[in-house]
């Protein structure tokens, strides 16, 4: 299938100013999309209020609006651009045939999936208010219904259950009896309790046993103005995985990259150390995850382009649950693109205008098509960069809310190599996990590089996820903790811990040689 000829102009919404959780990755994806669409001869219109972006350089779009990314503003841009198209002699709204490949270009379309959550939210607001329909602007890449299915947590959860996939079990209750019934159904502690409509989620918590549960449930029901609480099974300590999927309009699906999180569930993916490819799944489990990824993208109905799907896996019995999906290019897509050489945003833009995966050349090999699954002979590590020193009042515990301000990625032939290189890339003054002669600061205390830290400090730093936890794995191993001890405190997979143990052992070997 060749590209669509009915499209004249494509409106791309950027991500706006950089914030925690939405940084330069969307400039990267948006710029790729602009280039790809211009290459295909479409007129590209761009809106982004962030001047420090490549995409707002004049050569990347035919017209660039440095304007607020709000529905009102974007509507004005749509109106103005439709007039401009009329002026250019585009036969707007001409009677059309159903054949998309042999028409005179006459449409203005909106590509909302490459500018992060800001672009997606703005596009959805324009859709809900009827602006897009009023002006005859079609969304390409993902339609509004698909975005809704992917973004609304309850709708998504129900959809997953309806296609036989597993999700974290939860239920809402209004009485203690209902609470107990839900707890019974979930079958095990801990349980997460979230009262409805309380300010900042007050009254919520984690219950580790029946007594705590009764207490928290009762309090939650009392605190909620509608006497309603959500009870959910806890996935704390489960392994977390991600899959980057692409789909074209002939329903060809491929996995671009599989990612295993070093930090178990409970830490936001953006704050987790992540590793590609997946390290600790058997082929049988990996293929089930691959099949489920395709089932998700098909059920949600993302017609073309990329999606990111997150999984939780119980390390004791392999139970695999779908956590969420992003029906758009995401932070992980940038990582996956650089990790595998497959330019996800560029290909997503080409798929959105009608190409099929096997019609697009692979930029790296130049000979083979994009309809393949990258296979790599190296390991890629991404480590988040935090800046808690700049915000002394901020709580540096890592939770499900993202706190990192950036990230570094490194490639190595082994995990150890990529991991050490990545730590060195963070610009935090360390040349790796340790052994570089630089001191360690823990609160107000300062320790020498090769000092053994107090065991209670180590235990505390391992138990609660935090920005420095990875370095405390080294301190722990040097202080005589075993891999098993550290696993019990952190639930970080023993494979990763063993790799780190090998780095530490090598440090000791080097130190012994020096002496």
């Amino acid at each position: 299938m060749p590209k669509r000829t009915d499209i004249h102009s494509v409106l791309i919404i950027g991500a706006g100013p950089i914030i925690i959780g939405q940084a330069c990755e969307f400039d990267y994806s948006g710029t790729q999309a602009c280039k790809a669409l211009k290459e295909e001869g479409y007129r590209v219109i761009l809106v982004n209020s962030n001047p420090a972006t490549i995409m707002t350089d004049p050569e990347f779009a035919d017209r660039t609006y440095i304007e607020p990314i709000t529905p009102d503003c974007v509507e004005k841009i749509i109106v103005r651009e439709l007039e401009e198209m009329k002026r250019l002699g585009v036969p707007l709204g001409q009677p059309r045939t159903s054949n998309l490949e042999s028409q005179i270009p006459h449409k203005l379309v909106l590509l909302p999936t490459l500018g992060g959550q800001t672009a997606l939210n703005t596009a959805m607001a324009l859709h809900r208010s009827g602006v897009l329909a009023k002006h005859g602007v079609e969304m390409i890449g993902a339609n509004a219904a698909a975005i809704e299915r992917g973004e609304d947590r309850q709708v998504f959860k129900d959809l997953m259950l309806s296609i036989g996939l597993d999700v974290p079990i939860s239920g809402t209750a209004h009485t203690l009896e209902e609470c107990r019934a839900i707890a019974e159904r979930i079958g095990q502690f801990p349980l997460i309790i979230r009262p409805a409509f309380t300010l900042g989620g007050t009254g919520g918590g984690i219950a580790y046993n029946r007594e705590e549960f009764e207490e928290l449930a009762k309090r939650g029901l009392d605190l909620s103005p509608v006497n309603e609480i959500l009870i959910e099974e806890s996935l704390l300590g489960w392994k977390e995985y991600e899959m980057e999927v692409m789909r074209d309009r002939a329903d060809n699906c491929v996995i671009i990259c599989s990612i295993e999180n070093f930090d178990p569930m409970g830490v936001h993916t953006g704050d987790s150390i992540t590793v590609a490819p997946i390290q600790t799944l058997t082929d049988k489990e990996y293929q089930i995850m691959r099949d489920q990824s395709f089932a998700v993208i098909r059920a949600v109905g993302v017609e073309t382009g990329g999606s990111n799907i997150q999984f939780g896996v119980n390390p004791d019995n392999g139970r695999m649950v779908i956590i969420e999906m992003n029906p758009r290019v995401s932070r992980s897509s940038a990582l996956a693109s650089k990790a595998t050489g497959f330019p996800i945003a560029k290909i997503a833009a080409k798929l959105a205008v009608g190409y099929l995966l096997d019609e697009i050349r692979n930029d790296i090999t130049r000979e083979t098509p994009a309809s393949f699954e990258p296979t790599i002979d190296y390991v890629v590590t991404k480590i988040p960069r935090f800046a808690f020193e700049k915000f002394p009042q901020a709580d540096s515990t890592l939770t499900t809310q993202m706190k990192s301000v950036g990230e570094a990625m490194a490639i190595g032939r082994t995990f150890k190599e990529s991991f050490q290189k990545c730590l060195r890339s963070l610009e935090i003054g360390r040349s790796g996990l340790g052994g570089d002669g630089r001191p360690w600061r823990v609160g107000t205390d300062v320790f020498g590089d090769r000092d053994l830290l107090p065991r209670d400090v180590i235990s505390r730093k391992l138990t609660v996820p935090n920005a420095e936890r990875v370095f405390f794995i080294r301190h722990a191993l040097r202080a005589g903790f075993t891999v098993e001890d550290i696993f019990q405190l952190t639930k970080i997979d023993r494979w990763f811990l063993t790799q780190i143990r090998e780095i530490v052992e090598f440090e000791e070997e080097l130190a012994a040689t020096k002496n």
Binding site: E233, I278, N317, M320, F372, T375, D377, T414, T498
Partner: protein, 390 residues
């Protein structure tokens, strides 16, 4: 893990030193590489690797250990195993033992610490080479000399070494044929490792030629309602038909298809008979020859789980699992055979269909294991082909 030295030598005189794992042994084989990032256990136990020293391009191998169920035959078949780094720890709930122990138990030597990327690059330029792997302290000179003296794979019949000696009914012995599945929902399964999808009735009898059949082919056939009678590779058409099958399946297997005159003759007889036939990998190559076509040796073969294959009829692309060193020459095929699938990387033949008879075959592995499940529908297609004939 003991730190004994090991050596890998190639016929071109190059020598790769490394650290030993697995058995203390010396073995010759054709050195090839596999690019799958998961599934080393399935690769080890695939009979198609008989006579080969397999290099995994992915650097971390052994991470999830080896388990008792993800086997593709009764034992591992590779001659030797070459990896960058064997995991010193096993981290998966399904694991039964470490890779190191498993290979030692089965007398297979392994070498780690090898620059597998450099080795793979060499194999890509030079093609698959004769080689030797030793964990017994062999000198570099002796290793190269022995690698050169090894006769190689071309023209050798490895099928007779891996094929079961006698016919047997699959799943008669309660092999778990249901597809592996994970525990689902809140109630925790007490035995999550033995969970299987339920099986339909086995109501279509077929004969499966075992040229080195992978168990997952038998499992997939059984999952699609076939009653599978597995027969040795040397079975004649007459003997096969005596089982009164509704169809014939031709399996994968090791080595050079041109060394299998007896199998080509049996399959040519079956083609003449007109019974529905489905072939995979070596079975596809044997069918190609039975049709009157030729096969040739690929420079470095297709071994991995990411080969894109285009179905020329539907336009759909399947990501396929592959493991073959030989291929069917499209120009040698008679007019009544159509090439209906091609490899998008190198345009080689991936599938054939007979224009007037109910016969089709694929060069790749729709049973996956390891690899993607995109091509599972081919088993249903085989069933439909048989049922349509009534």
């Amino acid at each position: 893990m003991t730190r004994t030295t090991a050596i890998l030598a190639l016929e071109d005189g190059s020598v790769y030193p490394g650290t030993a794992f697995g058995a203390t042994a010396t073995a010759c084989g054709e050195v090839c590489f596999n690019t799958s990032m998961t599934g080393y256990q399935e690769v080890l136990t695939d009979p198609s690797y008989k006579g080969q020293i397999v290099t995994m391009t992915y650097p971390h191998i052994g991470n999830y250990g080896v388990n008792a169920v993800d086997v593709e035959s009764y034992q591992p078949h590779v001659a030797g195993f070459v990896v960058r780094e064997v995991s010193p720890v096993v981290s998966n709930w399904r694991a039964d033992y470490p890779l190191d122990d498993y290979l030692r138990q089965h007398g297979i030597p392994g070498i780690q610490g090898v620059d597998t990327r450099a080795l793979t690059k060499k194999l890509r330029v030079r093609g698959a080479m004769k080689g030797l792997i030793s964990t017994e302290g062999l000198s570099a000179e002796d290793a190269v000399a022995q690698a050169r003296a090894w006769p190689g794979l071309v023209g050798v019949d490895y099928v007779k070494e891996v094929s079961h000696r006698t016919a047997f009914a699959w799943d008669d012995r309660d092999e778990p044929s249901g597809a592996f599945r994970l525990t689902c929902g809140p109630a925790t399964e007490p035995q999550p490792r033995s969970l299987r999808d339920p099986l339909p009735a086995a109501d279509v009898p077929i004969v499966a030629y075992d040229f080195g059949i992978k168990y997952n082919i038998c499992r997939r056939l059984r999952q699609h309602g076939f009653r599978v009678q597995v027969v040795p590779a040397s079975t004649s058409a007459e003997e096969a038909l005596a089982h009164r099958p509704a169809g014939i399946f031709l399996s994968n297997g090791p080595g050079d298809p041109s060394a299998l005159g007896y199998a080509v003759r049996a399959v040519a007889d079956l083609v003449r008979h007109g019974i529905p036939i489905f072939g995979i990998c070596l079975g596809h190559q044997i069918l190609g020859q039975a049709f009157g076509g030729k096969t040739f040796k690929l420079k470095f073969g297709h071994r991995g789980a990411n080969q894109p294959v285009k179905d020329l009829d539907s336009g759909r692309v399947e990501i396929t699992s592959q493991n073959h060193g030989f291929a069917v020459d499209a120009s040698s095929l008679p007019a009544e055979v159509t090439v209906n699938r091609v490899n998008l990387n190198d345009q080689t033949v991936e599938g054939l269909r007979h224009k007037s008879k109910p016969i089709f075959c694929v060069q790749y592995h729709p049973e996956a294991s390891p690899g993607p499940h995109d091509s599972t529908p081919l088993f249903a297609e085989f069933r439909d082909l048989i049922l349509r004939r009534g």
